[in-house]
């Protein structure tokens, strides 16, 4: 028992270390490009530097994402390996760095240094383009989410779109083109089978996924991520997973049909969330829907022939996609950056303030607050904290699913989507439309 607790503690330590690295780096770079450098430029050259300052600020989201994606992938792969080890009663990677913290960095370096092999008969142009096409959408696609996850921070507001949901869904259907290209261009039967499976799977599961997202948008009444997140302000009951505030409208005097409708709506939304999780797993080719890569049947599916940097890009994109769907779920269903129990959070923060004030006796709370406020935006910190917690919780849940469920057969996969999920999604869409009016 003791050593099991020890292992979980090690995992927690690793997670903290990596989250500090990831978000410290992202914050540091964003802050220096978005706040420090423009301020310096403006003070040095006055009005003439305004253009450069604004250009730098406009670059912040791009740089932040470009920095975040590889770091985050390093952490996610490591976390997944450690978690799978925990679930299968093993230890997992623990050699490179403290507790194996830098195992994935070493792996990445190894991949980058490896020879790149192009199979004979491969279509070189397509073969090279495939990883790029697979990877690009995950960078482009994450942009509109940035505003929502940073609590509409002024630096990230420009990338917000009034139709952000629509945009992400459109972009997220591109990677399958890359998969088919890669599978076809590598001149390998297994790759081709994997690619075709992937195409079939992506098309089948996109429909219930879209329907479940559309239903949530219907509930929220907007396609704007920031607004969807803001609509869930309040507490756990306001989250879309529990009907987007339907339960909070209930009072003692509400008519019975209103109560029934609200409860039904909450049930529908939980089902919607389950639907979303299933379809998202299929969209990002995770077990139990990892047929495109099915190691035991297809070697490695569409990326069998890839090595070196190209394989690393596939790998990067896969984990980034997983993170995106998790963040997407956190924003759409789990209240975005809002705390489940805001009262509790406020109490904790004021308690922490008091503690800090007691520790830094010489430094009054006011000065400390000023120092902190000049570096970060307190509202953003709380939002980002909750987004991080929710997103990574979902990522870990995906690891749990991977450790548990066996792979589906291809015909079961198709059956499941077309005969079960699509009808369910349609029923839920209609049900939510009516129930929303009744509440």
């Amino acid at each position: 028992m003791n050593s099991a607790v020890f292992e979980i503690g090690k995992f927690a330590r690793l997670t903290l270390l990596w989250l500090c690295i990831i978000f410290g780096a992202v914050w540091g770079v964003s802050w220096s490009i978005g706040v420090l450098l423009p301020a310096v430029i403006l003070s040095q050259s006055g009005e003439s530097g305004r253009f450069w300052a604004q250009l730098l600020q406009a670059l912040v989201p791009v740089v932040a994402v470009a920095l975040f994606v590889p770091l985050n992938t390093c952490y996610m792969v490591l976390a997944e390996r450690r978690l799978l080890a925990l679930f299968t009663v093993r230890k997992g990677p623990n050699r490179v760095g403290p507790d194996g913290a830098f195992q994935t960095v070493a792996d990445a370096l190894k991949l980058l240094l490896k020879e790149e092999i192009t199979p004979r008969g491969a279509d070189l142009l397509m073969y090279t383009l495939a990883p790029v096409i697979f990877f690009a959408p995950s960078i482009i696609g994450v942009m509109p989410l940035l505003a929502a996850v940073s609590g509409n921070h002024p630096l990230f507001t420009p990338v917000n779109l009034p139709t952000g949901v629509f945009y992400i869904l459109a972009v997220s259907s591109i990677p399958v083109v890359g998969v088919v290209m890669g599978g076809w261009a590598s001149n390998n039967k297994y790759s081709l089978v994997g690619a075709l499976r992937s195409a079939a799977q992506a098309i089948s599961y996109e429909i219930p996924l879209l329907l479940s997202i559309i239903t949530v948008c219907l509930l929220a009444g907007t396609l704007d991520f920031v607004q969807i997140a803001d609509n869930q302000r309040g507490s756990l009951l306001n989250w879309n997973i529990l009907g987007g505030g339907a339960l909070t409208h209930l009072g003692i005097g509400s008519p019975w049909w209103s109560i029934a409708a609200a409860l039904l709506l909450a049930a529908c939304c939980i089902l919607l969330f389950a639907l979303y999780v299933i379809c998202a797993c299929a969209e990002v080719n995770r077990t139990p829907f990892d047929l495109p890569e099915a190691e035991s049947e297809l070697v490695s599916g569409f990326n069998t022939e890839y090595s070196g940097i190209k394989f690393a890009i596939f790998f990067l994109a896969e984990y980034t996609n997983l993170f995106i769907v998790s963040t997407f779920a956190a924003v759409m269903f789990l209240g975005g950056g809002h705390a489940p129990f805001p009262g509790l959070e406020d109490a904790c923060i004021s308690g922490l303030r008091g503690l800090l004030a007691a520790w830094f006796g010489a430094c009054t709370p006011f000065q400390l607050g000023w120092l902190v406020n000049s570096l970060v935006n307190p509202a953003t910190v709380s939002q980002v904290f909750w987004i991080i917690v929710k997103s990574y919780a979902l990522v870990w849940f995906a690891s749990l699913i991977r450790a548990t469920l066996p792979r589906l057969r291809i015909d079961q996969l198709m059956d499941y989507s077309w005969k079960r999920l699509v009808p369910l999604a349609l029923i839920l869409l209609i049900a939510v439309t009516f129930l929303k009016e009744l509440v």
Binding site: N2, A4, E7, K91, A403
Partner: protein, 197 residues
């Protein structure tokens, strides 16, 4: 329709149960053996590299060149060179070769040996760069006195009797017939579970 809903609920329940079962495993201590850092605790009966023991007390070689091990070996990987000593008329061991590349560690040779001379040690790290290096000769096979004592204790073998007869050479064992009569049953008797090393 209702049946389908029922089956869906059942499936959902089963999936959740599976997830929970797997999740519970994270609370169990890992079974990983970190081999190069932590050597595994092998039982006394572990069949590792073969070796020839010496008498732990006197240090004399236990092999009496009876060639039983050579005969029983299914792989024929034991090669014994011995001759009759002109002075005593006893068998005298000249060389003893075991090809560990051929050996399958069945342990038959250790069971027939009348003097518990040939034994399986707990050593299993014996990778080499060539096949030739896997052929061990008498010098590499023979254990030191301390090692022999260690394995005799670990395997729970009866301590060998000192060679009583006027044996001028240590290898020329005088009481071959005697040991032949009593030893095999002792040797084949399995040593109990061990927790050593």
């Amino acid at each position: 329709m209702l049946g389908m809903v029922g089956r869906a609920a059942e499936g959902f329940y089963q999936v959740c149960r599976g997830l929970w079962t797997v999740f519970k495993h994270s609370g169990r201590p890992p079974t990983t053996k970190e081999f190069p850092d932590v050597m595994p605790e092998l039982p006394g009966a572990f069949r590792g590299r073969l070796a020839l023991a010496v008498n732990p007390e006197t240090g004399e070689h236990l092999c009496i060149s009876c060639r039983q091990c050579e005969r029983v070996c299914p792989d024929k990987c034991i090669d014994i060179t011995a001759h009759k000593s002109p002075q005593t008329g006893k068998l005298e061991l000249i060389d003893f070769k075991i090809d560990h590349g051929l050996c399958m560690f069945c342990g038959l040779c250790t069971e027939v040996c009348p003097t518990s001379c040939i034994i399986n040690t707990s050593d299993f790290e014996m990778s080499e760069y060539s096949r030739g290096a896997l052929i061990y000769d008498l010098k590499r096979l023979t254990l030191s006195q301390e090692e022999s004592a260690y394995y005799f204790a670990k395997k729970d073998l009866p301590p060998p009797k000192p060679k009583a007869k006027p044996a001028p050479k240590p290898e020329a064992a005088g009481d071959a017939g005697e040991s032949l009569a009593q030893q095999p049953s002792d040797v084949s008797q399995q040593p109990g579970p061990k927790a050593e090393e």
